[in-house]
Amino acid sequence: MPALATVPGKSAARVRDDILGRMPGTNAAYVAAVAFCGAIVAWALFAWGYQVVGGFGHTGIRRPTYWGFYIVNFVFWIGISHAGTLISAILRLTGANWRKPVTRAAEAITVFCLMIGGMFPLIHIGRVWLFYWMIPYPNERLLWPNFRSPLFWDLTAILTYLFGSLIYLYLPLIPDLAELARRSAGAKRRLYLFLSLGWTGSDRQWQALERAMKLMSLVILAIAVSVHSVVAYDFSMSVAPTWHNTIFAPYFVVGAIFSGIAALVLVMAVLRKLMCLEDYLREIHFVNLGKLLVLMSLIWLYFTFSEHLTTWYGNLPGEIRVFNIREHGLYGFLFWTMVACNFAIPFVLLGISRLRSIFTIALSSAAVLLGMWIERFLIVVPSLSTPYLPAAWGDYAPSWVELSITAGTFAAMALLYLLFVKAFPIIAIWEYDDGISAR
């Protein structure tokens, strides 16, 4: 007969103590990691300041490639933010129990990636101090924003997604915050108590919470699909060669989920090592996510093939030139690296069962992240640098400003995660239910 504690071998209280006990303390290694990431972020902020004060010319962006690394990073980070949604919402709705130890890690990725990705439109625009002109409110300029602009759609989509995913992360955190409040003292206790909004653990609250999470899963799923579609619309609403393309919205959504899973696997592998979560994040979780990764890899390959075949066969003068430069030279090298990273490496490493291990799954995920970054680069840059009129052709190479800011965003991700795991349990304690080995 099942006791109230649903984890065989480990009582609920053990699990609680265990997970809370593994939240990092303020030791030298932790401080060093925070300082290291903080320094890179500070350097990136300096680079941004340099660009704002000194002029946009300090970046490598030039005519005709008016969008560069910033937009590539924007699409990349917004793409990764789909990790939380997929793992958490789809698996929650389909009742896949194995998701439980990984949901919070995924939801946190979503929130942080959106915060980082959402910075790029600001970094990217020429007069960042006027960014609020995009926000619709009655103003002294007597001018509202242009609702027909895909960039305005972007603003609404990303703000909705950020708002939604923050709540989606926060709601299941509430019971754990109450637990943390019970265990801490002083200012910390008051903070956790405040954040837990007066959670008592009554069945009314549990039922309302679970109902809300189900609703939120549905809504957040719809939002997530729309967000990356809107990011794709930024391109497909344009007339630039190869951008005006109906396949982009679903292609981007698939790519986003693909890179999201990869990011989640990588984050989990790091957490598992650094926080000694071996008994919680077990091989089966990695294998399950690895299977999803291979599935998404194949879907990605299918979309990529369809897109390129259509362009090649259509042979439109503007588009075929972009197609051709993507096949040769530096872009050609990048193209085949992308195919290797996104398809060959995960397919071989995860397809052959003897090679499948946590290490190879994490390795494939790293390859996929690289491949997906290259994919976005190959969408943004070659099309822009090869416009219709050959007289306007140009090239693009990033300057130290863009490289610094790009590095800074990865450090920012690490920093946000470091701070998060210190303040909050990375595994949802109350949800923790080892759905795999139990029964």
């Binding site: 007969m1 109230l4 007597l142 609702f147 609404t156 069945d203």
Partner: protein, 168 residues
């Protein structure tokens, strides 16, 4: 009025107690279960009425419609032609309508959650028991000194029974 707090360790005992209490005429409203984890078996025995989905849908419709009407009004009030597009068009604003609708759903869900769970806006005066490490505490609101209920709780296997005065 007083509150009885009975601690249970086993799901069956708890379920049996709830069933017997309800057969005894104790209303659902007088029962409240406190635990550190959700107790799924009890969800069916103590279903709480919820209008959360309705609230989310209504809020979604309201915010989505509001945003769309605002956009149309703005575009007609200050018409500017871009790219030969019509001044107002469902296509051009469909994405914003959708996002506003979804933001409305999120907002509605959040508000309904706060209302139904009593978080932040709680008006319930019942005392909150200390949560045990394992198991759950069943709270029964009853007449002062109700021996039958106390006996029932003891007989169904409550490991600890506490009496809390409503004044406390």
């Amino acid at each position: 009025m007083e509150y009885l707090h009975a601690e249970y360790q086993r799901t069956e005992d708890l379920a049996a107690a709830i069933r017997l209490l309800q057969a005894d005429g104790v209303s659902r409203r007088a029962l409240e279960l406190y635990s550190r984890r959700p107790v799924e078996a009890v969800t069916q025995l103590l279903p709480r009425r919820s209008r959360m989905s309705l609230g989310a849908v209504l809020s979604a419709i309201a915010v989505g419609t509001g945003a769309t009407v605002l956009m149309y009004w703005i575009q007609l009030d200050y018409p500017l032609v871009t790219g030969g597009m019509p001044i107002v068009s469902g296509w051009a604003t469909a994405v914003v309508t959708f996002e506003a609708t979804m933001a409305g759903a999120v907002f509605g869900t959040l508000l309904m959650l706060l209302k139904e769970s009593g978080l932040v806006l709680s008006r319930r005066r019942a005392p909150v028991p200390d949560l045990p490490d394992e198991g759950a505490v069943l709270q029964v609101e009853c007449e002062t000194g109700a021996p039958s209920i106390r006996a029932l709780l003891k007989n169904t296997g409550a490991s600890r029974i506490e009496v809390v005065d409503s004044a406390a």
